[in-house]
């Protein structure tokens, strides 16, 4: 009998490793090896024809920390995250509450909110270009109706990052909405009835019952929004290219520029490692909080 069990166990192990190996190979080639290789190459100098690369330890990191552009980009990215995360979550929540209530044209409203999600970021940037272009753009035309002067939204440091932020919020809010919408539909009707009987206002009901019940969804969305604030940079290529004078440059764009425009792979690698460290922290937050879904039961 135990012989048989042993055989079955061995069979499962053999099959297991066999079936895992294709995916494991791919993940090793395109995730684990590159991560280690990135770390390794961040410890060396650039390999040029005149000078082969040599080990310099943490000097690339020291260079980054001494580089004012790096700090500007970090600041930009923190600002970008600090605005886009709460604002798109708040808008998504409002959208979901509206799309879930009995309003006229509900089908149209839902579609309109969600549509930006299926557009490529590059296309979204092109659409918004029409808004931001000085003189001809929609924003300036609206402004001129009120006698406001023309503004170069993308061309001046004070507004460029804001212009980028607005496109991001526009793109992701509708996506987050559907998760709230799904969560709202799981809230039992009797809670609303009970609240009505107790004479609670709609505002009280929303704040004291709906919002706490949506908490796990909010955390899930927040993790997604954090990841997006690292990864959503495609529109920079169309709208500002990080300018003017780096005012709208974000980290991933800077990594790209460092590696593929300045051909400085070691510094790009060092920056990549720092980003990965931040993403690990986000992962830790998710594992710590997201599994505790039962706060309110």
């Amino acid at each position: 009998m135990s012989n048989h069990v042993n055989l079955e166990r061995r069979r499962q192990a053999i099959y297991g490793w066999l079936l895992l190996s294709p995916a494991a190979l791919m993940l090793s080639i395109f995730a684990f090896y590159p991560s280690v290789a990135t770390f390794w190459s961040s410890l060396f100098t650039r390999n040029t024809r005149r000078k082969p690369s040599e080990f310099i330890g943490t000097e690339n990191y020291a260079d980054l920390f001494a580089d004012p552009t790096f700090w500007l980009v970090v600041k930009n990215n923190l600002f970008y995250a600090g605005i886009t995360i709460p604002v798109s979550i708040a808008i998504a929540l409002a959208m979901a509450l509206w799309a879930n209530s009995k309003i006229p044209l509900r089908g149209f409203v839902r579609t309109a909110y969600f549509t930006p999600t299926v557009l490529p970021m590059i296309a979204a940037a092109n659409l918004w270009l029409f808004f931001y272009t000085p003189g001809l753009g929609v924003l300036d035309q609206i402004g001129s109706l009120f006698g406001l002067p023309s503004v170069n939204w993308l061309g001046q440091p004070e507004t460029a990052l804001w212009a980028i932020i607005i496109v991001t919020i526009w793109k992701e809010a509708g996506f987050f909405m559907i998760f709230y919408l799904a969560a709202l539909q799981t809230i039992p009707e009797d809670l609303k009835e009970a609240a009505d009987i107790e004479g609670a206002s709609r505002w009280t009901y929303t704040r004291r019952i709906v919002l706490p019940l949506l908490m796990p969804t909010t955390l899930f969305i927040m993790v997604n929004a954090m990841i997006n604030s690292v990864k959503l940079i495609d529109h920079l290529f169309i709208l500002t290219k990080g300018g003017p004078s780096d005012a709208s440059k974000l980290i991933l764009y800077y990594i790209w520029e460092m590696a593929f425009a300045f051909f400085d792979a070691p510094h790009a690698a060092a920056m990549t490692i720092l980003v990965l460290a931040v993403l690990c922290i986000v992962a830790a937050i998710q594992f710590l909080y997201l599994d505790r879904r039962t706060h309110y039961q």
Binding site: M26, A31, I103, F114, L119, P120, T133, K231, A269
Partner: protein, 269 residues
């Protein structure tokens, strides 16, 4: 009072909806008008298809469309293959070391392929896949997200079906193919919709690994077409943009419910 607040909220919801699709509507308007009519918002002005003609002649769009189509197909087939096998192992087989490997796989959820562009580029070049559609698709094939999704789906398959198939003399791969895969159809569909729209829209990585019109997908082609150096005007850019988002947008409008369900199923674990 209650009535009034209902009206105000409805109005606000609809206003927000109008604001939300206005970029698309303006681009649509601009695409069908001459540039001067477009920016003057002259409602009476004539509609024209000239912008589409000019845009179409300005770049090898047909090639770009083909490339994007091939790319999403390659990625999807690869993802189905790798995630089915791995998802099945994590859902139904027991052996030492499995949990450790699973944690390693989950780590990839946060090691975004977007962030590893430098080394992935080196890897793709080393494999001789630079400037090929295969090179664009490869890093996304063994998606940890997909593996997780398939695992969840396979886990919900009752063990009785598995046992029954085994008693009938089906091998492990046969059981996977005949029992698990057919039962996971909704998950495959959801995953396919999410994957296709993600890779149809992907930009940064294809920008890095493609270098010729023969491999460039739509997003990269569109960004090159619209680059200010090329001096194309707003109506023509709008026409090109509308053109390149049309297939996915129409598909979305037709299968809206499925799309939303797919994103939900893929998102909520």
């Amino acid at each position: 009072m209650k009535r009034l607040s209902h009206y105000i909220e409805s109005a606000a919801a609809i206003l927000l909806a109008l604001i939300w699709i206005s970029p698309l509507l303006f681009a649509f308007w601009a695409a069908f008008h001459t540039t001067s009519d477009a920016v003057n918002f002259n409602i009476m002005s004539a509609w024209t298809l000239d912008n589409f003609r000019t845009a179409w002649d300005g770049a090898p769009w047909l090639r770009y469309f083909m490339n994007t189509f091939l790319l999403v197909t390659i990625v999807l087939i690869g993802q189905f293959f790798f995630t089915t096998l791995a998802g099945f192992v994590f859902a139904k087989l027991e052996f030492p070391g499995k949990n450790l490997v699973f944690i390693l796989v989950l780590m990839q959820l946060f090691i975004l392929p977007e962030v590893l562009i430098v080394e992935n580029y080196a890897m793709v070049s080393r494999l001789g896949l630079f400037d090929t559609l295969f090179g664009v698709g490869m890093p996304y094939m063994a998606s940890a997200f997909g593996i997780f999704l398939m695992r969840q789906s396979f886990k919900s398959v009752p063990i009785e079906l598995h046992e029954a198939a085994r008693i009938e003399g089906c091998g492990l791969l046969g059981i996977l193919w005949r029992v698990y895969v057919p039962l996971a159809k909704p998950t495959y569909l959801a995953y396919a919709l999410v994957s296709v729209s993600t890779h149809w829209n992907n930009f940064l990585w294809p920008l890095i690994v493609t270098n010729s019109p023969e491999t460039r997908p739509l997003t990269v082609g569109l960004s090159i077409f619209g680059a200010p150096e090329n001096g194309v005007d707003i109506s023509i850019i709008s026409a090109a943009t509308i053109m390149s988002v049309a297939p996915l947008l129409i598909a979305f409008l037709v299968f809206q419910r499925q799309f939303v369900q797919a994103f939900l199923r893929a998102g909520i674990k």
